[in-house]
Symmetry: D2
Subunit: 359 residues, 4 copies
């Protein structure tokens, strides 16, 4: 039985959007090569231990902090809130939830002021802030525009054992579900949740957690994503292309998953859809629909289901990973015990399978 997170009596903070992720990397120089030289993120500032990076169209100080540390992990998923008062609201909200909460008037990272970090009920290090240094928005700096340019931070994706529990908690926090994956027994395998008017600011992927599945950046067009693959081929690091490129069923976005030198997963993503209407229709996908994760039916590689980044508590120690008890999406869809269909009308055993798609 799911043990739901209680709903606080104080109002949830008014979240604007996912804003940045702070990740710990074990070799700062190698990570700089990956994020700056390969992916072309723009350096706002850097020192011996930290690099502050932003995407082309960003006007706040950073979307990604690389921090040097002994263990590769995610130190924070930070959301921007609507006003300074909403930082207070966040603090009160998580205190009532009984979470560990830390408030820093000068922020946890450079460029950002008054913030609160929490160990949230799912075990993730969430941050909420409003005050931030504005920097040059590079939108029209086409002299800096690379062929695979990353233009916006799009979303986070978190691995958690109990998706309905996480979903209810995030709905309380003001997120709305755009899409989810279920089966006919009522098991939820994943859910996509948004504050800004896109398919998600974060998603919950059912699995052993808390772990961070990935952080995603958007490009303008599909060819920008293809160029990233082509460049990784040219640099002979194609083994760091984990999955894709492809078209998602869920979200309809064109996507690519790649791995940084520590194994942190980055998604490159473009062209999902507008979700800003209050009655935006929620789409539920059958877990056995072979087009749900890749609209072209291309197989999801096993590592994509099993690997993810550790997340840190507020002392900087990795959170222990709890096993998912419900069925795993990988198990029910691939291999001897799983099944997937291309055409839902077909009877089990006679579904259209992609040739060679079953690992």
């Amino acid at each position: 039985m799911t043990n739901f997170v209680p709903t606080p009596t104080v109002p949830a903070p008014d979240i604007v959007r996912c804003a940045y992720m702070e990740i710990v990397v074990t070799d700062l120089a190698r990570s700089r090569e990956f994020y700056v030289d390969v992916l072309g993120l723009h350096v706002t500032e850097e020192d011996e231990n930290n690099i502050y990076l932003r995407s082309l169209e960003e006007f706040i100080h950073h979307n990604l902090v690389l921090r040097k540390g002994p263990i590769a992990a995610v130190a924070a998923c930070a959301y921007r809130v609507k006003s300074p008062a909403e930082v207070d609201a966040a603090e009160a909200y998580y205190k009532e939830l009984g979470c560990r909460v830390e408030r820093r008037k000068d922020g946890f990272t450079k460029g950002i002021g008054d913030s609160v970090r929490v160990e949230d009920p799912l075990g993730f290090p969430y941050e909420f802030f409003y005050d931030v240094e504005h920097v040059e928005r590079l939108t029209q700096r086409y002299d800096l525009y690379s062929a695979g340019e990353l233009v916006r931070l799009d979303h986070f994706n978190q691995v958690t054992p109990d998706v309905p529990r996480g979903r209810a908690y995030l709905e309380d926090l003001g997120f709305r579900v755009s899409e989810d994956i279920k089966d006919s027994d009522g098991v939820t395998y994943a859910a996509w949740m948004h504050r800004k008017q896109t398919v998600h600011d974060t998603a919950l992927t059912g699995g052993n957690g808390p772990r961070m599945h990935h952080v995603a950046f958007a490009t303008h067009e599909k060819h920008n994503i293809i160029q990233i693959c082509d460049k990784m081929g040219a640099l002979r690091i194609s083994d760091r292309i984990e999955r894709g490129p492809g078209r998602h069923g869920v979200s309809n976005a064109f996507y690519l998953y790649i791995l940084d030198p520590d194994g942190h997963r980055i998604e490159i993503y473009t062209q999902d859809y507008y979700t800003g209407d209050p009655d935006n229709p929620t789409i539920t996908w059958d877990v056995h629909d072979n087009q749900r994760r890749d609209w072209w039916g291309n197989p999801v590689v096993p590592s994509w289901y099993t690997e993810a980044s550790l997340v840190l508590d507020l002392d900087g120690k990795p959170q222990p990973v709890i096993e998912r008890e419900e069925k795993s999406e990988m198990a029910v869809t691939v291999g001897a015990d799983g099944f997937s269909y291309t055409r839902p009308s077909e009877t089990a055993g006679a579904e259209g399978f992609k040739l060679g798609a079953q690992l």
Copy 2:
């Protein structure tokens, strides 16, 4: 020891380009759906038993003939030659080779005049013609331009057991090699050969043959190919997407392989490079280079190596398939006995492998 095809004393016919393929399909209506409704090829003419199709920028009668028949197979790979006299040259050339040759002044298909068909030394049904009906070139008919528009026939790809033998025969016929795949023992796994100024008009893939591996059509841009995948997803026939989309190592083209209702393989292909200079450099790829067939290191599905279409003799009977004796590319690159590397400098056993890429 390879038993090479003798070099005739008469001159080879001057071939301009690959021009059309005639394929036998078992259900004409279903094939029409695939080639016309899904892929958007343009119907020049059709009757109860045949459909004559062309790509957008073609000005000759057809690039593909679908013919109704009992067994799915390829009936002809047709090349256009430079002048009517070259059809005579082709007839004389193959007669000297001792091949079975059939000349028809009125052609073998509608829209095409004086032609010669042969059972060539590799067992393939080759046709040579010059005389052809010109039809409306639809280049600027953007009112007919679909999102996944096929604009040109690009090439054939043939499966043959002995690639060096086939290569020498095609070089005698005037083809030049743009790229090939070999290993350090001198085994050739595949070769790409051209007359027009692109990477190939035909390629030889080492395997049990004679069989036809695929016929390829070109699009203008990469997004056109992505649209074909998206549309096949929308039509719930994504199980007919066999491999890709991806970027080839060989040819550098962006590609996709799909299967028609009979299992005939179609490649959609764009943006290879100019090969028209007489000293155009030949590129040789190591068979163990994991980026040779997909620049991003994505795995080649087994069916792509093993499946191909039967080809017909001049009586319309399938040619018997002879087994390849040399090593198979699939065996030496995947599975327990094969290996592939991402970075060639690495020692065997420590190569960069793509996660999940080994089936």
Copy 3:
């Protein structure tokens, strides 16, 4: 002196986004050809006098209503509000403003319920509604995806004599300014204002008004817009391409302006930027900056400045057009009395002009 619209004491309705425009066309069949056959908008419903059209990713009944009538004009610019109660709020708000207001529980067009229409202080027919019929969202219907597919309604653009007056009124109504065009004397020539998280839901263009300058639809990528031009060329209606394609300075979007059979102007638009943060920086452009309206310095054709559609009052009669008293953007930037520069640092008279750009 600008006579500002008073700020009501009741709260402004909470607007979600621009949702649809109702336009009067004089020949319904010809307009259908343009919007359906040429532009590929999807017909939700149609009868003898009306056609209800939507873009690919829309889930509400329509984004555009074509209504047959004697005089080409715009009958309504409709906004969706956040809840049914916000329709009441809109009614109260405009009543306090002293505007003519009409409430219809069954809506003014098919597919839409309880709505209020007003003659707003600028003379425009604004509508506010929440209740609407949901229809199939065609996002993944790639079988229907044309090469120039329009995927979303993006914005309206209104011509009004006094831009600061209109801007203050719309700010009261909850719109925020993303960008504007001014000169060093403090004259405002245009302003872009948004509710959803893009550059605008509507813009104000200084000129004789009230008139409707255009309605804009978004595509996914730039090539989709190029295809619309190519198709209009193929149909030999390139004289209906009024301006572009080009890259806007303001908004950074890739754009095209075309004219329907009645001269209503349609913009096709893609890839502006995220504006959802509360402190999203406002960009002010100098009216003399030759890259403000076209980042490549291509000239704005005079008709674009001078022509626009009449708008109707609630009786269906055209609103009288009032002349702009302030300087006109066309006059100050082109011709003998105007000037524009490419490089702002240059002194007047020595600016970089585009060759041949001055009409």
Copy 4:
């Protein structure tokens, strides 16, 4: 009466393709900025007085030589021939034509061996060579691939007073006409002529000459061209964008014309069509067809008709410019005395004109 160039009795050299242009620039550093920093051409070699540049997919030493000199001009249009013997053929051919001919066994520029340069019958400095240094072909160096990457040299375009005379001379030289522009009086305004299998290796534009109209480089896709415009906007040199981007009627290519610091015109060009068949249909456009030069009917700026680069004789002195005697394309299509139509069926005076298109 046109005084045609006599047809030599010796065979014409077998030309493969246009290969490089040598241009004289007055400020080498400024030109380097333009061609290397803005356009991203790749430097093969450079010294105090010369820069040798190539496009991404080129394997010969250079496609463009920038040479420092006192007067901006074109020093050579060089064609590659099929074998060393064809250089002899070129020498003999032009000697018989009575042209000034200079043979240099070590070539005229670095990287190129045995060559012949001539002052051809039209007054242009043509070069023919076979021997050339091969350099790294950067086709798959996606780590060097810029967002506006130029991948191939595509063609030259020459201004000459008497187009039929030039055309007959080039046909004798083995070029074939793919398209031309004429009027109903039989006046030829321009002709496109090819050796390689594209629309042209060179074109003749009727006007005062000999002058060089432009040299053109190809990109892979249309968005690459748009990026060049965007970058020139970002660098505030949009006044060097002379015309476009647009879709040509002739050639069907997507195009852009820009001006280097000396006013040499560069075209960026993509996606024309295959012309390799011996009976490739020639397309003749009516000079009054408003879609011939821009398929979207966008106006050709006057400078595009009137401005061009001087060409040098073999002593390095500018060739005198001879006036065109026949009607000018600009005069017959724009302004008070000219006319253009959008729909050919319309009677003169009632043609569809683009709003604002007539300068």
